[in-house]
């Protein structure tokens, strides 16, 4: 019903009539890149606006409400302001790494958006190791943070970078283990197949307790990987002023911000795809009428709705909880989350082997 394949096929045929096969591929890559970039900026703006509004309503404030309709253009104004700011580099900084770090952050984030299935047909690259690819690529982000912290030549930055290095490396384990639970259940690493495996019910519903545990672990570990409160050790503005990006001005700072918001979106998108069925509509057993109504809602709306639900939960965390201390943070990972997700994985593996799941 709501299908983008017609559009893409049309573009493909139009280009094939004018260019050689190589030219067609190149043009399609350019078009996909532009669309990706535009959608990224749009997503980041939306998340920025959403975060401000969510924070404001949790804190008895109104949030941005002057620029544009109900403040929707505030974030555009802020971006313009950051663009016009002077971008200076501290004298003692390692200039090459200092300039490279924000670029790495953003590039890594954009790379990891490639295999995410927005709908059945709206997916940039459906590779057969999608899940593995995403977790591999996102972990490069820590290099950017370490680079930023080290090259700034600032003690706060260095502390923040070291903290986030320890934190992200640790929490990647739990996040990975909870993703493997779904991989084990669905039997594939390809995002499209994982979504298809949930056609008769999302994993959060048919996976029972192990999947619930995996989902909670995934949310906690994911929030920690994002360096967001209550795990914002790397920034910790009351301890380390601004952590690894203390020295970054103007647009370079904005790139860190962009990377943070996009990472949040990617994390939520992966969570929605793996646990909440991606673009699959909600179906309940044999309620034909209900299922028809659900089918009528476009898959993109389903996907975005689930993603933004998880985004909201992550924001809710941030504006409610105090920050953990660094040793408590690592204790939580190594003494609680890791053993729990390991045991959980063994349970799921047994269930899959014995055929106990649906």
């Amino acid at each position: 019903m709501y299908d983008f394949s017609g559009v893409t096929r049309g573009i493909h045929e139009f280009l094939s009539g004018h260019f050689s096969p190589l030219g067609v591929t190149l043009w399609e890559m350019v078009i996909a890149g532009v669309v990706l970039l535009l959608s990224l900026v749009l997503i980041a703006f939306t998340l920025g606006y959403m975060e401000r509004k969510v924070a404001a309503f949790m804190q008895l404030r109104l949030g941005p409400n002057r620029v544009g309709f109900r403040g929707t253009l505030q974030i555009v104004a802020d971006t313009l302001k950051l663009l016009f700011k002077e971008t200076f580099v501290p004298q003692a900084a390692d200039k090459m790494l200092f300039n490279l770090a924000p670029i790495i952050m953003v590039v890594v984030t954009m790379l990891s958006l490639a295999p995410i299935p927005f709908t059945e047909t709206l997916q940039f690259y459906d590779m057969n190791i999608g899940v593995f690819y995403v977790s591999a690529v996102t972990s490069i982000g820590v290099v950017g943070i370490l680079m930023a912290g080290w090259s700034s030549n600032n003690k706060y930055s260095l502390l923040g970078a070291m903290r986030s290095g320890a934190q992200i490396v640790s929490y990647e384990l739990s996040a990975g283990l909870s993703i493997i639970v779904i991989v084990a259940l669905s039997g594939s690493m390809q995002f499209s197949e994982i979504v298809q495996s949930q056609a008769n019910g999302w994993w959060i519903f048919k996976g029972h307790i192990p999947v619930w545990i995996a989902f909670v672990v995934f949310l906690i570990a994911g929030t920690a990987e994002l360096n967001r409160a209550p795990f914002d050790m790397a920034e910790a503005e009351s301890e380390l002023t601004a952590g690894f990006h203390t020295e970054y001005p103007g647009m370079r700072f904005a790139m860190f911000l962009l990377a943070e918001y996009l990472n949040m979106f990617i994390l939520a998108a992966i969570g929605a795809t793996l646990f909440l069925g991606g673009w699959m509509p909600l179906h309940i057993g044999n309620l034909e009428g209900f299922n028809k109504v659900m089918d009528f809602i476009p898959p993109l709306v389903w996907f975005m709705g689930k993603t933004f639900l998880i985004v909201f939960i992550i924001m809710w965390f941030r504006w409610t909880f105090p920050r953990l201390r660094i040793d408590q943070l690592l204790t939580l990972e190594w003494k609680f989350l890791m053993p729990i997700s390991l045991v959980n994985l063994i349970l799921v593996a047994l269930a899959v082997i014995l055929g106990l799941h649906f």
């Binding site: 504006w319 409610t320 909880f321 105090p322 920050r323 201390r325 408590q328």
Partner: protein
């Protein structure tokens, strides 16, 4: 004119030492406190406070003003309990010139002082949340503080540095709406204090961050000169309102809040309890403010006899002492302010040694430091 060679306790002993300057501009020092901390990884090895960024020599300036004037400077010391600072100065001058303060003025003073304490603790509660990484409490604390400041504004004309208490009583009479507004505020606040507990007190992360952190024993607390909620959290009975009552506190029923753990969480609990006690004190007085003068008749120029007087007042942060020496002229010969925060800063190293950077922030938050009071 450095006639003495300073003996410097060396902080940096080897190249391995990682020394970080926390402040003078830092989000969690709430002012211009400058700490040099020596780190080993995240663990704090030494803390060295460097003071004086906001030193205005209030003691020296007090010697130049008259007995009526010098108390106005003290509003700028601990600006969150400016009322009690003025009160301490007024009490010292009253002791010197031997003036009996009218009952109405005394009651007004207590009401204002307890409202100030509430406002100060609300700000502390919000700022503490901010320091520990939870931003939402800040706004909730400020919402309630705002209402108190509006009540102050009605009567005193200002919101922060009130200069309302003068020798002999208070400067002007209460605003006609004062009673109504305070009663309405208390009704709201008693419900809202439950919100405070819901948001922070039972939170597991908050308890992890504060329990067993920054412990100071009762003996050390006394030895370091800690007072107010900090000492009471260690089990030291030190409420000046109870031990050396002034302005009619002896007639009121309220409890001295004491905890024994001596950690950050105990200090938190003491302050939360104090808010409830302050509400009780205000409730006892708000409906029966005696009629009469709000200021005793005093001469225009105050000239106390030769002598010295010491008054002690319980501010929101602890014990404020005013040591007033007169040589019989119209200006004070020497004024010394014993400020609670000054002693607390000296105890900072003892509390935070061996902890993490996050602990230092939690300790500073629960000590509730106000830097202008440290530097004076």
């Amino acid at each position: 004119m450095n006639i003495f060679e300073p003996e410097n306790k060396k902080l940096v002993e080897s190249e391995q030492d990682f020394v970080v300057n926390v402040g003078p501009q830092h989000p969690s020092t709430h002012g211009v406190l400058h700490l040099k901390i020596k780190l080993e990884g995240e663990t704090i090895k030494a803390v060295q406070p460097h003071l004086g960024y906001i030193h205005r020599s209030i003691e020296k300036m007090s010697e130049a003003g008259s007995y009526r004037q010098f108390s106005y400077l003290t509003s700028r010391m601990d600006y969150l309990s400016s009322h009690m600072n003025n009160q301490a100065c007024a009490l010292a001058v009253e002791k010197a010139i031997q003036v009996e303060v009218p009952e109405r003025a005394k009651v007004i003073r207590i009401l204002m002082a307890e409202l100030t304490r509430l406002a100060s603790h609300q700000l502390w509660w919000g700022a503490m949340g901010l320091d520990l990484g939870a931003i939402t409490p800040f706004f909730i604390g400020f919402r309630d503080r705002e209402e108190i400041l509006e009540i102050f504004e009605d009567t005193c004309g200002t919101r922060l540095t009130m200069n309302y208490v003068v020798p002999g009583g208070v400067m002007v009479d209460l605003h006609p709406d004062f009673q109504k507004k305070v009663v309405a505020f208390l009704g709201r606040f008693k419900k809202r204090i439950k919100e405070y507990d819901d948001l922070v007190t039972g939170n597991i992360i908050f308890e992890q961050r504060t329990k067993g952190v920054g412990v100071i024993s009762a003996e050390d607390a006394i030895s370091y000169g800690c007072s107010g909620p900090v000492a009471r959290a260690s089990g030291v009975s030190c409420d000046i309102r109870k031990l050396h009552p002034y302005d009619g506190y002896e007639k009121l029923e309220f409890k001295e809040c004491i905890e024994t753990e001596g950690d950050c969480f105990a200090r938190y609990k003491v302050r939360m309890e104090e808010m409830k006690e302050s509400v009780k004190i205000i409730e006892q007085l708000i409906d029966n403010i005696p009629e009469g003068d709000f200021q005793a008749k005093t001469k225009n120029v105050l000239k106390p006899p030769k002598g010295e007087w010491f008054t002690r007042v319980e501010t929101a942060r602890g014990e404020l002492g005013v040591y007033l020496i007169s040589d019989g002229t119209m200006k004070p010969y020497r004024v010394k302010f014993r400020s609670p925060n000054f002693s607390h800063v000296s105890a900072l190293e003892h509390m935070s040694k061996g902890g993490k950077i996050g602990d230092l922030v939690a300790i500073m938050a629960t000590l509730d430091l106000v830097i202008p009071d440290v530097d004076r």
